[in-house]
Symmetry: C2
Subunit: 708 residues, 2 copies
């Protein structure tokens, strides 16, 4: 990151508007108006060939007249003039250009877009856009966009790939009471992308957390790296997660939407909290900008209504923080703060008759207990309580508890159910730093996000810096080179197993016999029983060709089947290029799993793991992780699939060798990452996993090469 | 249903308030005040020993002074006085009592509660409550409760088991803009329950749809029957669906929360739409009171922002109405209504530059197309459009289209994303009959509810009136009686199979041999190969006892194993009561499935179906249906499990005999329903299902009897 350049782009000391206009309704007018309305304190330079002055600012015919004076140039001229405008900006020493104009990559003109970026880079500039609304900053008093207003002030920032959404959400910040310091419109992401801004925001004292609206990432790996590094919470809404939605997204921004599962896995690996919809994005952002992460699983719910207590309890389970009953000593104490028919179990139901004192005492006491890691306060409007008073009292109790060492770092969320008085009371709470929601499920969902973030941070902190298996990369490349020289885009099973072996994967010994005598010699080397398989790049479905025989137990049978398999293969395809017959160690039966790899369009080499057979074929019960995948993550992947119990030891069976499996996943990940320029897809299918301590065997291996 | 009595309770011509008070703050004051504020037009009779007049109404010392004059008596006196008050109401000819007072079943005093109901019934009265807020009706100008106001008027009704929630939601109707005609607080449901009110609302011209907040049902079967009969949509939020939530609900209302899966199945069977949280309950209610069901799968989305279009598309898939592209001729026409870079595919993206005309034309045209079954209109606030104007224009276009025969019966939902102007515009749309939501996902979720309702109505309409298998019930009862006489609470496998057989289930022939000779004779009757199993009520784990031998192929082996099995059993448990050895037909291997039954606390006999082995043991991949289950529903159950493809024919295999399986489910349902007074639990496990046309075999059967 060139911080100085990005500072110029996002925290400019001066702004030029190229294409500034004195005609209301034009974008070039709106941007100058926005800068004025935002009370921007730096210099504003309208650039317009004819005008002397625009909206109170002296206008200049060319940016070249302002050499060395401009940090940010906002470009609003028609598409065909943009490239030359950028060139001029470069010459004038502008630090960054923000191109509002559309009509480039999103309508197929990638050529001009690329030329713009090249030109900018040549001059050391960065490009935001094109096809954007602009960028906005409350702390910078900077509305460098055609959005009519700066957002409600707050401590979050928003980066949106959709301009229309950004402008609507900008207005929505006031309606929802969720404040932001900065808004960024990314548009075509020709240059500056999510990763650049996330990295830059890490240094921004006005941003506590970042909300993202993502349609598709161009450089997913860099996005992950940057997101992993920042300690500020990131909440992401990824659109286009349905099949049809992905198609719609692609037509919309010209970027490819990755598979929903891969995105989900990648977000988790990077410590990003994924939002489900717009409201959820706002809800989580509000929680993260106002409250600390929740550093344990014990959520305490205090309510005046049993019904909403139960709804919150259901939501807690649904969102991954199932409730537990309070320890007896906590219950005993809280029982003193409520009428006889209340409940201190959790949810703590102070009952409708309790009024403010019950809330105050349970909150102040509860939040200071070591057992409690987070608090949700629920209130049902009643005929005898005043929401304003309740809100005020709750706030005081929270502040009192948070002022103590035991209560300080614990998150609190609130839900008031009722009418306009409740809405007003909630806004009061929000304005005073307590997230408040109109449905207990929303409140619980938000605090569950705070819990999830703390979990992901813990996982990050505990991650071990493991050295991957030391593989002889050149040896692997030689095998691949030979296959390519042979005109092939896939390795044979024997070659693939050699590559797997180089990366430390435990494959069944598989040797190539070209003659009967060789077959017998190799069979004795491998050890009976063996499997024999035809080896031919021209025969993909070996069984159909009569090219496979399992469980061969002696030399005579080896001879017999060598001849048969060769004959079958020739009969199946007369002109097939036959390498010979593979003599393979026969792996004992175990639990069948499958490893696979894809080169994801957004995230690059990605590992898939699942149980074999019906689990993968019928249930699609697989999980993904973007490389590199550590052994630790390999263990986690095994626990993520629905059939996890099979590996952990179901139906009275002993656990499988999950340690060996995890090590295998890590090595496999290392292989496809190390050879990412060569391997398009690969799989190990099946892998037989044995009882804990007994390891595993990769029985079949496949590597498909990238087109070169 | 005694309609006249319920009319008296819910549409009274006169109301007495027993325990009316002149002291503000007392419930007896609030209720009279509520009646006044609601502008109730019938007679109001405060009952108070000492007062002459309360809040403008002449007071009476006793209800007995008003014999024959009172339809509804609202009781607010202390708990210990309620029973005698009810007795007096009865004597005075009151039609229904609404008992606001708490302190009965919910705190353990079931005795008084039962006595109250008995007393009421003796006098031909019905009881609402106790432990309630009361009931409210806009059309009746009746606020017979201590809730401070009637709800925002509308065409829905709400029945809530939680009083606190009712009062809060009452106020919330104004905040959310969702109108209701009637609100009912059910409290302890000592007498009048959900079913009574649903049935009564079916005759209420002011109620178009009914929202329920359910904690636990006491008579689930009647609830289902009544819900099935009504054609008015029902939307239900069931709380206590999590394990911990169920515990909290139980402590709250004293009613048992059923298993979440059983509730889900029951709701679907009854045509009820299940809400996920409070907002969703309101969202769906708004959709149902304002719009017709969606009678087909084609949702058209019209948007001015690509981003929200994609979010809506994702939501459509998530909520069960995946989007399809419009047919080419529709696309061609709509393309005329938008700028060049718009998209008419679906979502129809008229782009941010389009303005009102694009919306008007696409809506008016789209809604009249036969291909389109429902419409979602999305709007992102922009710098150049006015949400008010857009809302007005959209409304006109919808009205225009809905005035045509082709557009008339199609639902429309709307989502505006933006600031306070959008919120105001949405309220305008709602007030004019168009549901509007602040998030595209919410709008799509609501219209998906309208689609789901139409689907369930279709299923209801298409349901065949099938006669169950004619079983000899008495023969089954004889077998059960004999087992009971034997002091047992479970049938042996042979007995259970006899009962299964009586109900037309295809069990493996299983005969009891007491001697070696008998064993050989029966083996020849059944036909080799056979399975031999010990039959003893004292040996549950037959295999552990060395009591099972499969694949016996001849007489000699039969003799040998009869002796061995008997010896093993005696060695395993010397004092076991041994009936002999079962000689059983050996069923060929097939796809293993499992049938089971429970007697659900809320819904009674309920069938469970799933695939055997890991599917049930590891994945818990089972589905439920409340009896009676038709053959049609039996087919549906097979499609509901995650492993459905296994039965439909996965991995190149032929489909299993799903017809036979469905018939078996229906017969099994008939058995457990017919014998519900005797059977506590039962299962058929495994059932081997063969290729289509080849039927199935119940290999093992188990019946556990109810304690008597």
């Amino acid at each position: 990151m060139n911080k100085e350049v990005l500072d110029g782009l996002f925290r400019p000391k001066s702004v030029a508007v190229i294409g500034a206009s004195a005609t209301p309704g034009k974008i070039g007018y709106s941007v100058v108006e926005s800068l004025n309305n935002g009370k921007y304190e730096g210099a504003i330079y309208p650039i317009n060939l004819k005008a002397d002055e625009i909206l109170g600012h002296k206008a200049y015919p060319s940016i070249l007249d302002l050499e060395g004076k401009v940090d940010l140039a906002v470009i609003t001229v028609p598409a065909k003039l943009v490239l030359s405008a950028v060139e001029e900006c470069g010459k004038a020493g502008v630090k960054g250009v923000s191109i509002i104009t559309s009509g480039f990559g999103e309508v197929g003109d990638h050529e001009t877009e690329n030329a713009i970026v090249e030109t900018a880079h040549r001059h050391g500039m960065r490009v935001l856009g094109p096809n954007i609304i602009g960028s906005l900053s409350n702390s910078g008093k900077l509305n460098a966009s055609f959005a009519p207003m700066l957002p409600l002030p707050g401590d979050a920032s928003l980066i949106s790939q959709s301009g229309a959404l950004l402008i609507a959400l900008d207005a929505g910040t006031y309606l929802r009471g969720v404040g932001f310091d900065k808004l960024f419109s990314l548009g075509n992401m020709s240059d500056v992308d999510f990763a650049d801004i996330i990295e830059w925001l890490d240094t921004d004292e006005h941003t506590k957390c970042t909300a993202l609206y993502i349609e598709g990432l161009k450089d997913g790996r860099r996005f992950l790296e940057v997101s992993k590094k920042t300690n500020k919470p990131i909440i992401a809404l990824k659109s286009g997660v349905s099949a049809h939605g992905a198609a719609a997204a692609a037509s919309h921004t010209g970027s490819l939407a990755g598979a929903a599962k891969v995105y989900g896995a990648a977000f988790e690996q990077a410590g990003i909290i994924q939002a489900t919809d717009l409201n959820n994005l706002f809800d989580l952002t509000q929680a993260f900008e106002l409250q600390p992460p929740m550093k344990g699983d014990h959520l305490l719910i205090v309510t005046n209504g049993g019904g909403v207590g139960v709804l919150a309890t259901d939501a807690a389970e649904r969102f991954g923080i199932p409730l537990e009953f309070c320890p007896p000593e906590l219950q005993a104490e809280m029982k003193n703060y409520m009428p006889e028919f209340g409940s201190a179990k959790n949810p703590v139901d102070i009952t409708g008759g309790a009024g403010l004192e019950g809330y105050r005492k349970c909150i102040a006491f509860g939040l200071q207990q070591d057992w409690v890691h987070g608090l949700a306060v629920l209130y049902c409007e009643t005929a005898v309580t005043n929401p304003d008073e309740i809100a005020q009292g709750i706030l005081e109790a929270i502040r009192e508890a948070k002022a103590t060492p035991a209560g300080k770092d614990k998150p609190v969320v609130i839900s008031f159910i009722g009418g306009t008085r409740c809405a007003k009371a909630m806004r009061y709470l929000i304005d005073n730093g307590i997230p408040a929601y109109d449905d207990p499920a929303r409140a619980v969902n938000a605090i569950a996000g705070l819990r999830q973030f703390a979990r992901l941070q813990e996982a990050k902190a505990n991650a071990k810096d493991e050295k991957p298996f030391a593989a002889d990369r050149n040896a692997a490349l030689e095998i691949i080179k030979a296959a390519r020289a042979d005109g092939r885009d896939a390795l044979t099973e024997i070659e693939a197993k050699q590559v797997f072996g180089i990366y430390g994967l435990d494959v069944t010994s598989t040797l190539l016999a070209k003659t009967e005598d060789e077959a017998v010699a190799l069979a004795n080397k491998v050890g009976y029983p063996i499997v024999m398989k035809i080896v031919s790049p021209d025969i993909l479905h070996k069984s159909d060709a009569g090219g496979v025989k399992v469980n061969i137990k002696d030399d005579a049978s080896t001879r017999e089947w060598f001849a048969k398999i060769m004959a079958n293969a020739k009969a199946y395809k007369a002109d097939a290029n036959i390498h010979g017959v593979a003599i393979q160690e026969m792996a004992p039966l175990g639990t069948e799993v499958i490893l696979g790899s894809i080169n994801d369009a957004s995230f690059g080499p990605t590992v898939m793991f699942g149980l074999g057979g019906i689990f993968v074929e019928v249930l699609k019960d697989v999980t993904f992780a973007v490389t590199p995948v550590s052994k630790e993550q390999g263990l986690k992947m095994q626990s993520e699939i629905r059939g996890a119990k099979i590996l952990a030891g179901a139906r009275g069976e002993k656990p499988r060798d999950q340690e060996a499996m995890a090590e295998t996943i890590a090595r496999y990940s290392n292989m496809i990452l190390d050879l990412q320029d060569e391997i398009k897809e690969s799989d190990a299918n099946p892998v037989m996993v044995y009882e804990a301590g007994n390891g595993l065997k990769v029985v079949d291996a496949r590597i498909i090469l990238k087109n070169k």
